[in-house]
């Protein structure tokens, strides 16, 4: 039984058939990178996993053999964390409270415990001295590192990244990728929607290419990048790697 398994997933936005028969599986500590042109359904796919997109039309997604569509929200969100393109930090809370509040409210941790955990994570991403700052006072890269801490503090078994560097200025992409690189090293199971092909090549255990809601090709990065089988994958890679 694979750690994560999606089988024949179909999803509609109204009449639009956004995901078509997507099946894939991976194991614990794997890093799955999902790429594809915009509108290909990659964000939609990742958002169906934690139900942000709405219920599937058909098919099933399972985590450790348990169907996510019937799992209780409490269990689902405890197992699956998410990092967003636009960070989505709570604007009215300090950095520390952004990370501590969900721990207290969703996991029932004490204030002391939650704060300690938050501080430890902030130190780990090099933002210890920003604990009292508010999100607006931080750069995009710093905000995204805080958002990663916030997701990590919940001890998820699977962490989803929805284009975590796409909203960042180029000079800040590196600091976020560095944090993600360390997460990979620490054995975190991750599913990453991204255009950062360097990250995919270096750290993915498998790369998946989606187009028009279909899974076109998947494979380990060495193969995927040097010998793409499908013409559409080659066209996409040509375009994205040209600059």
């Amino acid at each position: 039984m694979p750690f994560f398994e999606a089988r024949d997933v179909n999803f509609h936005f109204g009449k639009h058939h956004a995901l078509r028969d997507i099946s894939l599986a991976f194991e614990k500590s794997d890093v799955l990178v999902v790429c594809g042109p915009s509108g290909s359904g990659k964000s939609t796919f990742i958002r169906t996993i934690n139900r942000l997109a709405g219920p599937l039309t058909s098919g099933d997604i399972k985590l450790e053999g348990k169907s996510l569509s019937t799992m209780r929200s409490k269990e689902l969100y405890r197992k699956v964390g998410m990092v967003f393109q636009r960070f989505n930090l709570f604007q009215h809370l300090s950095v520390l409270d952004n990370i501590a509040l969900p721990q207290r409210r969703a996991l029932g941790r004490s204030r002391k415990e939650a704060n300690e955990r938050a501080m430890a994570l902030l130190e780990r991403v090099g933002l210890g001295e920003k604990a009292a700052a508010y999100p607006v006072q931080l750069s995009g890269g710093q905000q995204q590192r805080v958002a990663i801490c916030r997701a990590l503090a919940m001890d998820p078994e699977l962490l989803l990244f929805d284009e975590p560097t796409s909203a960042l200025d180029p000079e800040m992409v590196g600091e976020v990728l560095q944090v993600m690189r360390e997460l990979v090293t620490s054995g975190m199971t991750m599913m990453v929607v991204t255009h950062e092909m360097g990250f995919a090549r270096e750290l993915a255990s498998e790369v998946v290419f989606l187009e028009s809601g279909q899974l076109i090709e998947k494979g380990p990065p060495a193969e995927f990048f040097s010998h793409p089988k499908e013409a559409r994958t080659r066209a996409f890679l040509d375009q994205i790697l040209r600059h």
Binding site: S73, K74, R86, F90, Q91, R105, A106, A147
Partner: protein
């Protein structure tokens, strides 16, 4: 004419002051209760669109917004006794004001909540926060700074609306003027006094609202 009004005010100071006191008290009670009603109604309308209770709130809001306040005052003044509830004219008036303002505040609350980017709810949900926690700990604190100035503005509106309680014989500012007019046959000066009282009170309140808005300086809450 102005000196007539001035003399009249000092002559009937007690009547006018009691009117002012009643108007302010009714508006203050009305606002406090309307805040509770409006908050609950607004949150319900935001959070449970489509449910029976959400629809009931929508009907309430639309009833209030599409009928004159005077009609609502009569509706409550004659409606409550019909349901077996007898209250003094003053409290009937307070309830009418609450009923009316609650609907407007509900719309302010709903508007404030709607203005918060969807990502905030998505992030909160993906962290496993329950809907109630999302509302009270994530969304409302951020909507607060946009809702509050409008709500304080509603207080000024309430003061002016107390004039309609005159129709159910609550001694507020307009009734005071009318009583004085009836006694002295100097209607114009009597109403000029009440007019001056409304202007004075409302200008002061508006100044306080402005001061509050500039002081609050919502920098912490501004979005990047």
């Amino acid at each position: 004419m102005f000196s007539d009004a001035y003399d009249l005010f000092w002559q009937y100071e007690d009547t006018y002051m009691e009117g002012l006191r009643n108007a302010l008290t009714a508006a203050a009670f009305g606002l406090c209760m309307a805040l509770v009603v409006g908050m609950l109604a607004g949150v319900t309308r935001y959070a449970s669109r489509g449910s029976i209770i959400g629809r009931a709130v929508a009907v309430y809001v639309s009833f209030v917004r599409n009928t004159p306040l005077l009609v609502q005052v009569y509706f409550i003044y004659f409606g409550l006794p019909a349901m077996g509830v007898t209250l003094s004219a003053f409290w009937t008036g307070v309830i009418a004001l609450t009923f009316n303002s609650g609907a407007y505040i509900a719309e302010m609350v709903r508007g404030g909540l709607n203005a918060i980017p969807r990502g905030q709810t998505e992030a909160a949900m993906s962290l496993g926060l329950r809907q109630r926690v999302v509302l009270w700990k994530v969304l409302l604190p951020q909507a607060g700074p946009t809702i509050l100035p409008a709500v304080t503005g509603q207080f000024v509106q309430l003061i002016k609306d107390t004039s309609l309680l005159y129709t159910i014989s609550v001694l507020e500012i307009t009734k005071a003027a009318d009583d004085v007019g009836n006694e002295t046959y100097q209607f114009l000066p009597a109403y000029m006094v009440s007019c001056a009282i409304y202007v004075a009170v409302c200008i002061v309140l508006n100044l306080i609202v402005d001061l509050y808005e500039s002081r609050a300086g919502f920098s912490r809450h501004q979005r990047a």
